[in-house]
Assembly symmetry: D3
Amino acid sequence: MELTHFDEQGNARMVDVGEKAETQREAVAVGRIQMNEETYQAVQQGSMSKGDVLGVARIAGITGAKKTSDLIPLTHNINLTKVTLDFKLYPMTREIEASCTARTFGRTGVEMEAITGVSIALLTIYDMCKALDKGMEIGQIYLQKKTGGKSGDVYNRRQVRKED
Amino acid sequence: MELTHFDEQGNARMVDVGEKAETQREAVAVGRIQMNEETYQAVQQGSMSKGDVLGVARIAGITGAKKTSDLIPLTHNINLTKVTLDFKLYPMTREIEASCTARTFGRTGVEMEAITGVSIALLTIYDMCKALDKGMEIGQIYLQKKTGGKSGDVYNRRQVRKED
Amino acid sequence: MELTHFDEQGNARMVDVGEKAETQREAVAVGRIQMNEETYQAVQQGSMSKGDVLGVARIAGITGAKKTSDLIPLTHNINLTKVTLDFKLYPMTREIEASCTARTFGRTGVEMEAITGVSIALLTIYDMCKALDKGMEIGQIYLQKKTGGKSGDVYNRRQVRKED
Amino acid sequence: MELTHFDEQGNARMVDVGEKAETQREAVAVGRIQMNEETYQAVQQGSMSKGDVLGVARIAGITGAKKTSDLIPLTHNINLTKVTLDFKLYPMTREIEASCTARTFGRTGVEMEAITGVSIALLTIYDMCKALDKGMEIGQIYLQKKTGGKSGDVYNRRQVRKED
Amino acid sequence: MELTHFDEQGNARMVDVGEKAETQREAVAVGRIQMNEETYQAVQQGSMSKGDVLGVARIAGITGAKKTSDLIPLTHNINLTKVTLDFKLYPMTREIEASCTARTFGRTGVEMEAITGVSIALLTIYDMCKALDKGMEIGQIYLQKKTGGKSGDVYNRRQVRKED
Amino acid sequence: MELTHFDEQGNARMVDVGEKAETQREAVAVGRIQMNEETYQAVQQGSMSKGDVLGVARIAGITGAKKTSDLIPLTHNINLTKVTLDFKLYPMTREIEASCTARTFGRTGVEMEAITGVSIALLTIYDMCKALDKGMEIGQIYLQKKTGGKSGDVYNRRQVRKED
């Protein structure tokens, strides 16, 4: 097996998807940011009343998903037909989980769009909270689901942790 | 304590840094991507001979750090005087660690540039390896060091894991 | 009736257009900028000989229409098949009217592309004239026509003012 | 008097600001969007509970202000030290007024950043409401205040309308 | 014969391609950069071991090709299905030739994408070598091949120079 | 002598300019495009009356110079204080020469901004003329002048050709 983004000489390339069929393709990616109690409370309360951190992060993530081909060198520029971003709050572990769903009707998958949307959303939360907590950590970013396309559907399940 | 990116009415804003002093500021952020054995081998060998995944990711990360103010809504657009990206390989855990150092001589810190550089580099590795491994995970992204500026220097140390 | 850019929980989203039919879609938007007599004369003369303000504004507007999905968070990134920008001069009221026509063959309308093209063109005129007139006003920006797509054609007619 | 963005041959240029002094500069621009009653109610209610149109428009406007030099051809790329966006609701006329304040410590003014921020915010409101009202109008966009720099401060006052 | 990017009044426009057929389209463009012996050696050795100038230039060129519609005002924004960039070294003349192949399945050609990819790759080589050689020259940039589309295939052959 | 854009391990980096002095820096770059007689005539006549190819190319080049740090991976993002673009027509050889002057007050030179401005202007001419001439060639792009900064001024003179 080989890395498809390189030719036989080892040179990076944008792979040819011109012969692939146009189909409905969807991807869902998730990721988390963990913060201290005080910051977690500020975000949680903000999302209910004033200072809507997650509302800003949602817009940044959706916009970020649209920028994927500008950020990741060998990705194809494609037309997304849908992008949504949701957040779940985990008070026990003071984590916020971002989940991004991307869709296209096209010749190549949208995993990178979903995972980029998640990453930019989490970075935006980080930015808005960094004055309160300089020790936050972003992690557990992975592809949860991928459907459409020749290579078959993919479902990644992570073990549910007790505290969730 | 409050989220500084919101005014008293809870409206998001780009905070005023016009009165802050221009100083040398530096930030270092790190993050990791974990993959299966086969993919890890492909990346490791590529970085020595053909198919230089990390070389591509380094360029994407440096370019990404320069795009920070376009990606993260409330960040200031600043002039970076230096950006570097390094990678460390952890064969025991099949992880690649990206480390990004950003510098400016300016009125606001460069944490977001360093952490964005790390994130885009890791996403680029993900993109180039996703044909081989659909279960990779990006994580442990945090600020390691931040110097310069009024709020004082910051050093975050994570426990060194045995396998490292 | 509801704002379609929000889900049931009130969270912003890029709406799903994946099921919509691909059709020819066109939109025309207009807008005006009003300036003092001296500035109006400078623009009018420039467009005939030296200092072609409207030529620069036309290029900025066409380029701006192509950037719509990067500027307006919840718009879809689409492929425009045509963009034109025209100007009309109204000496009685010292106004310049910009009119932008955008077309696509796709799943969603191009109103935002047309209206963004108009806005960027007017802002560019503002920029080039602001040394002469600091009291200019941009206004009367609206969608004049929209055809193609399921929701039916739209024609907005404003009352013709005497001085036009 | 002449258009400064053209040389003696009438060729467009980015004017030289290298000799100008670095000073604190601020600009405030405003603009409005008018809509039908139903849509106005949806926006007003959304900004209190679900479907925060103005929250999304605020982020788009702040981000848009940072993109000014990419949108308006002859503007200088500058480092903004502050950007804020506020909204006022006028129920009598079913208008929403956006007001953008931009600041820099630099060699050239920030009028275009303020007025671009206002325009992008209003376009974003338009986008989110266009399913409800296809006859909205954007207008009354002008520079309200400009301070700092050699050419002197500018204050534009529009007649207060009765219904305001 | 006329310049198609202008209407009858001489106003620039993005031409309408909405009625053109969707077909497989490909373009190949080439270009060269010439440098002094020392710099040429540094690039040549780098591409084998340390300091991979051409690897960086390849990524910049591929990314640049994707930005074409943002750089060249009247081009259509299209979805590329493939982009590759290759380099050939000419020791006799101390030249590096970049060759870019772009493909799309769409309504308009990809010449500009190929030629922009070549140009950005050569500019990147220039940037990385300019500390060693301030007299480099970029040239011989032309379209080598263009297939697909109604206007027929194009093949440009330049005389092979002896030293090649 | 070494390529400064790589560290001791051969890894690409954005070099540190934080310790360099802020000075006035200027660069002038030139380049040419050669075309067939018919196309040359169309451009020459257009620049006098209808169809102003060079006017569009000038705007694209100035805008392109501002995008340099987004296009060329290891360049610093800097604030340009001036950009101008001029054209000279050479009827004997059917060439158009673009000349771009860039200035900054900063810590690093503006060669890349000047040479990128020239390249984008020439690519824009190519785009607008390619329907008439599919054999055009872009070339002779080099740095003509560079002043300011520690490394000393640079002047590159090419032999004046008879036909010029």
